[in-house]
């Protein structure tokens, strides 16, 4: 019933979205966002999280819808951009492009760089566009059902968001949870909203409003990456002939082989992208594995087959669209990049969550419309802009790093015209680098800072409603289901390991 209602409203909502997008400024920023995203994604080590964090200051003073259209463009542009260096120099632009190197680089070595780049572009765009349709159909329905959510359900959702991303990011769940706990502590710094008591401010007035997530994200994702980036300039050995238009287009036979893998990668990527914490990297790993197992040429994977590029590329762009669903409808970002985007929305005074689609019709549908147009821009740029991206990849990394540092530092100053924020950015940059070397993931910390305030507020509201009985949260069916899911996600892996160890021990004893 709700689905049909939503379907009936679809043309009207889409028309609203495209009327918002018809503003030339919005179209221009969508294009600029995609362009910047592809360039940032193509630079080794720089991923979508960093791209969004670094470019966030450019949206100050913009209309919220324009700002978020640009940042969304950066997001999916960077998801594709990561494949360029993965294919050309065997260095993934970000972790989601790791699987693309397996067959992308061997294709370059065989002199088929153009084919690999072309297929990566088409697979990304097909995955992205199909998932915008799924997003458009699904998001309002989830919002509709989530409208009944009260503080208890909200609190449970926040816990789910935090536990899933902390438990599934990085090599060690304990380090992920440690990172999330530190983030929650940072979120408590400032004046307590209920009592007005200072918490960990030490009388520093700049801390009274708390620590904004932007300097933290810029430091953790930006500066930490700059310090550990390796110079890859001069490694590119691509001729102009390799990237000629006709060499980028896959043949009929290649399409026939790749389309089923693109379709499977798209569905898998979208579903995995919607799960909090899973993200594009896991989606691309699973999609590659699925393609290898279902392909007739599975034994050739890793030697340079086009479907080995198509499957992970369709999945990682599909996952980036899927990750938008829980972020906008439930207020639970599923990855570091969507956490930064959610922070940006809150900076604009918008709170993602169940009533988001109802209260911000123009904004939400404007964003959806921009994704269609953004994917067209991505296709145009992927085909026509390749020579430009390859030129940029040849720029020396120290020069690029210097300029990016300038953007980060002035950007963090521009947040509220304070050098204190610049100091914070530098501090978190240094901390982020140390944590990175200790294999402590940064994404849970940023997510915890974004969600910290909402988590604490919803818990306090829930406790008032439940007369201080915390266990009362478990009497609410939705909240208890979500909390149990969160606990399973948090402790599922250790329990599985413990069970495995006990079974192995019993076998040895017998």
């Amino acid at each position: 019933m709700v689905f049909l209602q939503n379907l009936m409203m679809l043309p009207q909502n889409l028309a609203t979205g495209f009327s918002v997008l018809a503003d030339p400024v919005n179209i221009l920023y969508s294009f600029l966002g995609v362009l910047a995203g592809v360039i940032i994604g193509a630079l080794p080590g720089l991923g979508p999280s960093m791209g969004i964090a670094v470019l966030l200051p450019l949206t100050y003073g913009m209309q919220p819808v324009t700002g978020i259209i640009m940042l969304a463009g950066v997001y999916y542009g960077a998801m594709y951009g990561g494949s360029i260096t993965a294919i050309l120099i065997n260095t993934p632009g970000d972790s989601a492009a790791v699987m693309t190197t397996l067959d992308g680089y061997p294709l370059t070595q065989k002199g088929k760089a153009g084919k690999a780049l072309g297929m990566a572009a088409f697979a990304s765009i097909i995955g992205g566009t199909v998932c915008v349709v799924a997003f458009m159909l699904l998001a309002p329905i989830i919002s509709h059902f989530a409208v009944v959510f009260g503080p208890s359900e909200y609190f449970a959702l926040m816990v789910l968001g935090l536990t899933s991303i902390a438990g599934m990011t990085g090599k060690s769940p304990a380090k992920g949870f440690l990172s999330a706990c530190i983030g929650l502590f940072i979120a408590t710094i400032g004046l307590d909203v209920v009592t007005g008591i200072q918490r960990y401010t030490f009388g520093i007035t700049n801390l009274f409003d708390g620590i904004d997530f932007i300097p933290v994200a810029m430091g953790l994702f930006g500066i930490a990456e700059i310090i550990s980036t390796k110079d890859t300039s001069g490694k590119l050995k691509v001729t102009r002939e390799d990237i000629r238009f006709k060499n980028l287009l896959p043949s009929k036979e290649e399409w026939r082989i790749c389309v089923p893998h693109i379709a499977r990668g798209t569905v898998l990527g979208f579903i995995i992208g919607m799960l909090p914490g899973a993200g594009a990297t896991i989606a691309s790993f699973l999609s590659y594995d699925l393609a290898k197992r279902t392909s007739k040429r599975g034994h050739l994977f890793g030697t340079g087959v086009l479907e080995g590029v198509a499957a992970p590329e369709s999945a990682n762009n599909a996952a980036s669209m899927g990750a938008m669903v829980p972020m906008l409808t439930l207020g639970v970002p599923g990855s570091g990049s969507t956490a930064v985007m959610m922070g940006a929305l809150m900076m604009f005074g918008l709170t993602p969550g169940p009533s988001f689609f109802e209260k911000n019709v123009e904004f939400a549908w404007g964003l959806i419309a921009s994704m269609y147009v953004g994917n067209v821009f991505l296709l145009i740029l992927a085909i026509c802009g390749l020579p430009l991206f390859i030129k940029i990849l040849n720029v020396k990394m120290p020069v690029l790093n210097g300029v990016v540092m300038g953007f980060i530092l002035i950007g963090s100053y521009a947040l509220n015209n304070s050098l204190f924020n610049v100091g914070l950015t530098i501090f978190f940059g240094a901390l982020g680098y140390i944590l990175k070397k200790l294999e402590v993931p940064s994404a849970p910390m940023v997510l915890a800072i974004v969600l910290g305030f909402l988590t604490e507020t919803s818990l306090r509201q829930a406790m008032i409603l439940l007369n201080g009985n915390f266990l009362g949260i478990f009497s609410k069916p939705i909240a208890s289901t979500v909390l149990i899911l969160a606990l399973l996600l948090a402790f599922g892996t250790p329990i599985k390991k413990l069970m495995g160890w006990l079974i192995a021990k019993r076998k040895v004893a017998h």
Binding site: P57, L58, L178, A187, T195, P398, G402, L409
Partner: protein, 164 residues
Amino acid sequence: MLPIMRMANRVLGICSILLSIVIFCLGKSMKLAFFSGYTPGPGFLPYVVSCGIAIFGAIILAGSFLGKADAGEEKSGDVVLGIFQREEIRNFVSVIGTSILVVATAPYLGLLTSMGIGVAAIAKLLGTPGWKGIILLGIGSTIVFYLIFSVFLSVPLPKGPLGF
């Protein structure tokens, strides 16, 4: 000698436990109440979080004693040089040191001027050869930052004696 990552995990575990103690003691000294009436007080989340940091720090610490070393794990006694490569330490000092200098000099030189010098210094320290390109980069980036932040975004950046 202990494998490097296990040693690093021990340091991380101990530092986490110490951090949790600091958070808890500071909360107590600030008299942050755990509960106020029926609702969690201003100290509720910080105390819970400090317990979480201690627990996960302890898990990491315990894991460093109980876990087996990976086959490829490097076995060297120098934790700092084992985890942080020499080139990265140089990058760290260059980037963080220059950034601190930019913040320190911004109120006197103006943010754009000190940032232009900072961009050039970072590019040089990270390994750009020659001076001509570096000088052009410093001037060029200052102009670009001026156009974006001062003209386009109207951000009131701190000005120096040169008027920008």
